[in-house]
């Protein structure tokens, strides 16, 4: 291998060395899919990641060279390289990187031939268009439109493409005019090598709501245990006292024990019993 790389032209040699340098400088080495990201958007993403992560676009062959020269467990990441891969480097952990990248996702206008990531719905209601050829364009794209009060109006809410369907050229043009941006664009993490192992997106995609639910559940369990075992903590002493007091009240009312504190409740209970019997016999 070293023999082969030896014959690389100077600029390629420098590029491979630069990749190796990056790999040595950061704790995380990852691959991101750059497919379909316009240059302007990429600039924005780079700005957002400044100081956190570095993106490096290099020919895949050179990346493979660098990986091969470093060797070890890292080399396995080559299996994740696709035609549009770029390298990403950071000192954050892969979970955090995944979240950061997810945040850089933005909605964009669809291009002809793109796949709809979700159902694309055009809502009914007035548009800003003045009457003109736009009505015909909308209709040809399958959107029921008409002129009303001098304005173009969409007559009914319509799902124009189902998730997974292809967005055709006519529709793409009309959606853009309607300012509907159905496509997610952003860096998709393909794999990350971190502390000796490779992390795939499926591992890194944590459902926040499940997680929040778990925190709430743990807190509930702790609360319940503290109160039910009567082990007082600053957070639970109030509830423990309330529980004890409720138990005493409950016993006092059920027995009943005629106490000033309980007499209202006992009267209420007697009254409700009377009312229940009254209801049962339908008397007046």
């Amino acid at each position: 291998m070293s023999l082969y790389t030896h014959h690389l032209p100077e600029w390629k040699r420098e590029e491979v060395e630069d990749v190796k340098k990056h790999i040595g400088q950061f704790t995380l080495v990852g691959l991101v899919d750059m497919h379909g990201i316009p240059a302007t958007q990429l600039q924005q993403i780079r700005r957002n990641l400044r100081g956190i992560a570095t993106i490096k676009m290099t020919r895949n062959t050179l990346v493979l060279h660098a990986l091969a020269e470093i060797g070890g467990d890292l080399e396995a990441i080559k299996d994740y390289i696709s035609g549009n891969s770029a390298m990403i480097f950071t000192n954050e952990n892969p979970f955090k990187l995944y979240k950061l990248l997810a945040k850089t996702q933005t909605k964009m206008a669809a291009k002809a031939g793109q796949i709809a990531p979700e159902d694309i719905v055009v809502p009914k209601g007035p548009t800003s268009f003045k009457p003109g050829p736009i009505v015909g364009e909308l209709q040809q794209a399958g959107i029921p439109a008409a002129i009303e009060a001098g304005k173009v109006k969409i007559k009914e809410t319509k799902t124009v493409v189902k998730a997974g369907g292809v967005i055709n050229a006519k529709l793409a043009t009309v959606l853009a005019k309607l300012d509907i941006k159905p496509v997610d664009v952003g860096l998709m993490l393909q794999a990350a090598f971190y502390q000796g192992s490779i992390f795939e997106p499926s591992t890194l995609n944590i459902d926040e709501s499940v997680f929040m639910g778990q925190i709430a559940q743990a807190a509930t369990e702790a609360f319940n245990l503290s109160v039910n075992a009567a082990f007082p903590t600053a957070d639970t002493i109030g509830a423990i006292v309330t529980k004890a007091a409720r138990e005493a009240r409950s016993l006092g009312i059920e027995a009943p024990v005629y106490e000033q504190d309980l007499i209202d409740a006992i009267i209420g209970k007697a009254y409700r019993e009377m009312a229940a019997v009254k209801g049962a016999i339908g008397e007046n």
Binding site: A265, V277, G279, A280, I281, E283
Partner: protein
């Protein structure tokens, strides 16, 4: 409602909710008992499971009214 309280009292005491007993209780409370109302009460209680009716009342939470506050 006095008539029903009298019936409940007898029921809890394990006594028969008879016209005679209801009348005795009401009289002891200083109420001039109306014979026909007593008859109506006793008649209407026939076939009513007082314990069951009471337990439904017990289940009704007093304080729920406070909930929206």
């Amino acid at each position: 409602m006095e008539y029903i309280y009298a019936a409940l009292l007898l029921h809890k005491a394990g006594k028969d909710v008879s016209e005679e007993n209801v009348k005795a209780v009401l009289t002891a409370a200083g109420i001039a008992a109306d014979e026909s109302r007593i008859k109506a009460l006793v008649a209407s209680l026939e076939g009513v499971d007082i314990e069951d009716a009471i337990s439904k009342a017990a289940a009704a939470p007093v304080a729920v009214a406070a909930a929206p506050a």
